[in-house]
Symmetry: C3
Subunit: 112 residues, 3 copies
């Protein structure tokens, strides 16, 4: 398998389930992601401008190919309501051969 | 630590909490996984046969050793209701020494 | 980016949302983590002293820098109610440059 076809998981967070579904759906429609998994009911704790914040957020795992990482992150940033969205790239060591091939098929001919 | 004993996380998804619990429990009983963490209420968005699908699924993180990756994926595929189950392998850089040793102990003498 | 500044995700589990929030908040206050994401309602399946256990737990993703991994795990172990808390380190291949820089800024001058 070509290195750029290796699956990666991009981890991102959103303020609401609707915004997560909208942006996740846009990534799938644009064939930038084969699939997104959305996790509502997540609680984020972080410091913002000196004060500790606790906020209800929605996490998302974006399943795509290594070669599309930059395009996916650019599109999420374009669509995301935050000025500084969380975007981290998790490498994989592959997976089931059939599923990895499916991810490659579903992210061919990205229409962005 | 022997490379095959390094912990990995295998990420999988299931159509229901019961199926996830059954298959996750079977992996633990077979000592193919030290532990599985099941996340109900996940929402999947993907394209299937040309149409965008949004489905409620259950995510699972399977905690096992690198050396058992292929056996774990074969067993999940054998038991899973989908023709093409999602199975991706996430590498780790270890963790707490005690917890990594526990994973190795709990996955000795796999009985499949 | 200096290798020790590369983001990592540390995956941990807790018996309750309150304990997860307390310990996660302590990591953020100590600037050992830029952010923690807490996932209530997770179900764990594992074997303990020969019997299969199914327990409701809370998962946490701790966003920090590679160079702080050992300190973060030591602090979680110090505060955690379990004798053997789950602690696994997931490497990243970076993420959005701005977000990776934010993680570095938020974990400077750790006060432990």
């Amino acid at each position: 398998m070509d290195d750029t076809d290796l699956p990666v998981l991009i981890y991102a967070t959103f303020p609401s389930i609707d915004e997560a579904k909208n942006i996740g759906g846009a990534l799938v429609d644009a064939r930038l992601a084969a699939c997104v998994n959305v996790f509502p009911g997540m609680v984020s704790i972080y410091e913002w401008e000196g004060a500790r914040e606790t906020a209800e957020e929605v996490a998302m795992i974006i399943k795509t190919r290594k070669g599309l990482t930059e395009q996916v992150m650019a599109e999420v940033k374009r669509l995301h309501p935050y000025d500084l969205p969380a975007l981290l790239v998790l490498p994989t060591e592959g997976g089931s051969a059939e599923y990895c091939a499916w991810i490659v098929r579903e992210t061919q001919g990205t229409n962005t």
